[in-house]
């Protein structure tokens, strides 16, 4: 390992400037690994990271150490039970293939046409790195709605107001901006299943508003199938937990009644 670091030293020039000091070690501390691995956008991103971290010359990649390190990362990902995309394994196979081809002796006759087995990999890495940078540059441009406001002053109109149209994707867009701002990700993970529960919560509340008190049983609609029964039950339990309804039963096996919490204060 140390030998390789030293070997990398002569080419340790980055962005045209000599590097003041080499990174102390080539490995990421294991506890930081998970966070780091999840931040990679794929095998190319991981490879670029390994290459840049060690200041390897991307045009003359030492395949043996790079392949070994890549495989170690992939192995660590597996051990950590991180969801490992198939692309990582395909890349592992490709690295090993390139490495073994570089070990093969070249037939002297073919020498001139022989292509560096790394050429395609290098091309892909450079292209991806370029795109990565381009993506950052794009993200830095002042954007209307984000850094810059498009001016649209109020227009006084006498004609009848036309109603705005909204489609489900507009709601997705609104939620996206909420998420980014409020860091809702942790506390507001709403799945489709939960959404149907919440829909039924509203339905029960709406019904209890008209009816004041309902018998537990009549809130269920067995004809709509088991899934709806379960969701309705979950909705009632959630409403109870949030103290939005009161569920009462006079004695064992007596009918269960459901009403709005403190409905009598109306």
């Amino acid at each position: 390992m140390n030998g390789e670091a030293a070997q990398a030293a002569p080419v340790a020039k980055l962005y045209g400037e000599p590097l003041i000091e080499l990174p102390a070690d080539l490995y990421i501390p294991p506890d930081a690994l998970e966070v780091i691995l999840e931040a990679f956008e794929g095998p190319l991103d991981l490879l670029l990271y390994l290459i840049r971290k060690q200041n390897l010359d991307i045009l003359d990649i030492p395949m043996a150490p790079l392949t070994r390190q890549y495989l170690e990362y992939v192995e660590m990902m597996r051990r950590k039970n991180l969801e490992l995309a198939a692309e990582y394994l395909v890349m592992a196979a490709m690295l090993m293939a390139i490495k073994s081809r570089m070990l093969l002796p070249r037939p002297p006759a073919a020498e001139e046409e022989e292509v560096d087995p790394r050429a395609e990999l290098v091309r892909r890495l450079l292209e991806y790195e370029q795109i990565k940078q381009a993506a950052r540059r794009l993200d830095e441009l002042p954007q209307v709605g984000r850094e810059v406001v498009a001016i649209a002053v109020w227009v006084e109109k006498s004609v009848a107001e036309r109603l705005p149209q909204v489609d489900p994707q507009d709601l997705a867009e609104a939620w996206r901006s909420l998420l980014a701002r409020a860091r809702l990700a942790a506390h507001h993970r709403v799945t489709r299943e939960e959404l149907s529960v919440r829909e039924h919560m509203s339905r029960v509340l709406r019904r209890l508003q008209q009816q004041r008190v309902a018998e537990f049983r009549e809130l269920f609609e067995p004809e709509r199938g088991v899934a709806v029964l379960i969701v309705t039950l979950l909705a009632l339990l959630e409403l109870g937990r949030e103290a939005l309804i009161e569920i009462t039963q006079a004695e064992c096996f007596a009918p269960i009644y459901v009403k709005l919490a403190h409905a009598e204060s109306h």
């Binding site: 980055l14 962005y15 045209g16 400037e17 590097l19 000091e21 990174p23 990421i28 930081a32 966070v35 780091i36 931040a39 971290k53 940078q133 950052r136 830095e140 001016i151 002053v153 109020w154 227009v155 006084e156 109109k157 006498s158 107001e161 036309r162 109603l163 705005p164 149209q165 909204v166 489609d167 489900p168 994707q169 709601l171 609104a174 939620w175 996206r176 901006s177 909420l178 980014a180 701002r181 409020a182 809702l184 990700a185 507001h188 993970r189 709403v190 799945t191 959404l195 149907s196 919440r198 919560m201 509203s202 509340l205 709406r206 508003q209 103290a243 939005l244 709005l260 919490a261 403190h262």
Partner: protein, 211 residues
């Protein structure tokens, strides 16, 4: 302290950039230092004066100040945009999204999620449209109304049930939710120490994003 011209330019831009009228309290927030209501009113008066000869004017409404086109201008606007569909403000759309995904919710719940106050006007816009209604009250002080989406909401959006709304996990996945900082530091030190130009700084915005 800003000089009066700069202060006027600041107020002007803020009013032009805002879709809704701005109150004196809103305008005060623009300034780092304390600024009196009298000073603000004087600056607004000067601004109105400055705009007096134009097709856009500064008006003082119940809820605050706003720039709007003069009524005589309407015919010209119609020539320009005969079919431009109107849109709800972001505030209205976000409120609707919260009610749709988190129902039943109170106005306080919505404010907690949005991190800003939700005006009665926004709720009313959605109620008038028939897209939300109060389905009960939470049993807490003030007995706030609980809002839910209506059947008309589903109909107008072409949905059979709320489950047909776009899945939230998928929306979250398209976002830069967490600061990328944990990933960047190990990757960047090499680049930063050597980068003579702006390229090293490219990592900065992602860190700043966290702030």
């Amino acid at each position: 302290m800003l000089n009066p011209t700069d202060a006027r330019r600041l107020i002007e831009a803020a009013l032009l950039a805002s879709a809704e009228p701005l109150s004196l309290a809103d305008l005060k927030r623009l300034f780092d230092e304390e600024i009196g209501a009298d000073t603000l009113r004087r600056l607004l008066g000067e601004l109105r004066e400055e705009w007096s000869g134009r097709a856009v004017e500064l008006v003082n409404l119940a809820s605050g100040w706003r720039f709007q086109t003069r009524p005589e201008f309407q015919p010209f606007v119609e020539r320009l945009s005969p079919e431009r569909p109107p849109r709800y403000s972001r505030a209205v759309m976000e409120t609707l999204a919260i009610i749709a995904y988190r129902q039943p919710v109170t106005r306080g719940d919505i404010e907690d999620i949005r991190g800003v106050t939700v005006s009665a006007q926004i709720i009313q816009t959605l109620e008038n449209r028939g897209w939300i209604d109060a389905v009960g009250h939470r049993d807490t002080p003030g007995r706030p109304a609980l809002y839910a989406t209506t059947k008309k909401f589903l109909d107008d959006l072409g949905l059979r049930s709320l489950e047909e709304l776009p899945a939230l996990e998928e929306i979250a996945r398209t976002l830069q939710l967490e600061p990328v900082t944990p990933q960047e530091p190990p990757a960047e030190p090499a680049a930063q120490s050597g980068a003579p130009d702006g390229s090293g700084a490219d990592s900065e915005p992602s860190a700043a994003r966290a702030a």
